[in-house]
Symmetry: C2
Subunit: 185 residues, 2 copies
């Protein structure tokens, strides 16, 4: 019973639920694995806490919630502080370098990436930050292939938005790959 | 109950049991985690199959054997063929590039490194290949820090042999870091 556990955490409105759903879709539909995705919000719809969890396994998943994250994405300082204790030893913490300034220490590696800025400057639409984050999560985790994840992204948006979301995904993947490699020390 | 599972597999005489014991020592004595190490041999003492397993956790370890490897080291083709199905999705396969020519495909990343050659040429003693492999396992997994693992290496050999084993460990770490980074694609 092997489980790969990912949590996307941050604030409502950052698109983290969508990112989690696409990760689960990549794993199940495109990769042929079992996947369970769940989500929870704070009391506010926008700006409050939001988290999306994805469990991926080759076998049936008996328990649908994260026990310890293989990779934790934290898109706010609050989410980082709240959830960093849930990272598994040998796991990875992915944070937005401009939104999370106090990085906790632990038996995990940290990838700090300006995801919001990449979305705004390199991709051209700040709203695609969630797909930048998804690309980074795929690069870091390796739990689904880049190709399958990209297909899941493309199939999740209507035509006028596929190109920009694909672009965001690929920017996130490329940048995270570099920073993750540098984080091995 | 988060578990990080490592298996060192290959042939008897390659020093894999020692490598596993030092990994467990790094995790428990130097890192303050729970660790269980176990080993098994084939019928021959030398040249037969050998494997060493290490489970690392922050909590008590209820089951001492590998269920799915986070990282699998295979130092022979036979070991690679036998155990590659046990790698967890998102896990890593580490093989000796001169001893394992047929690399299986799966939902894992592969780091192919000439560990035996590094031990022979760069370190100067082929017998240190197990410490090259240990350095690579530490770089890939991130489950123990480089410093703690190095201390565990140093404390495991009598004085005349500490320098060369430390050198082997560091060569393995550095080379694996490069190759692992390139394997993210």
């Amino acid at each position: 019973m092997s489980r790969y556990e990912l949590r996307f955490s941050g604030a409502g409105g950052q698109g983290l639920i969508t990112a989690g759903i696409i990760m689960a879709k990549a794993a199940s539909i495109y990769e042929g694995k079992q996947a369970v995705q769940s989500q929870s919000y704070g009391p506010e719809a926008r700006g409050g806490a939001a988290k999306s969890e994805v469990i991926i396994s080759e076998d049936a998943i008996d328990y649908p919630k994260v026990t310890k994250c293989d990779v934790l994405l934290a898109m706010t300082q609050k989410a980082c502080d709240k959830y960093c204790a849930d990272i598994k030893a040998g796991g990875v913490l992915l944070v937005d370098s401009n939104l999370v300034s106090t990085i906790p220490q632990g038996a995990f590696r940290t990838v700090s990436l300006p995801m919001l800025k990449i979305a705004k400057v390199d991709v051209g639409r700040v709203i695609t930050a969630n797909m930048v984050a998804l690309g980074a999560m795929v690069a870091i985790s390796g739990v689904v292939s880049r190709e399958n994840a990209e297909e899941a992204v493309v199939s999740s948006f209507p035509e006028p938005f596929t190109a920009i979301n694909r672009k965001a995904f690929n920017h996130g993947f490329e940048r995270a790959r570099e920073v993750f490699a540098a984080a091995i020390q």
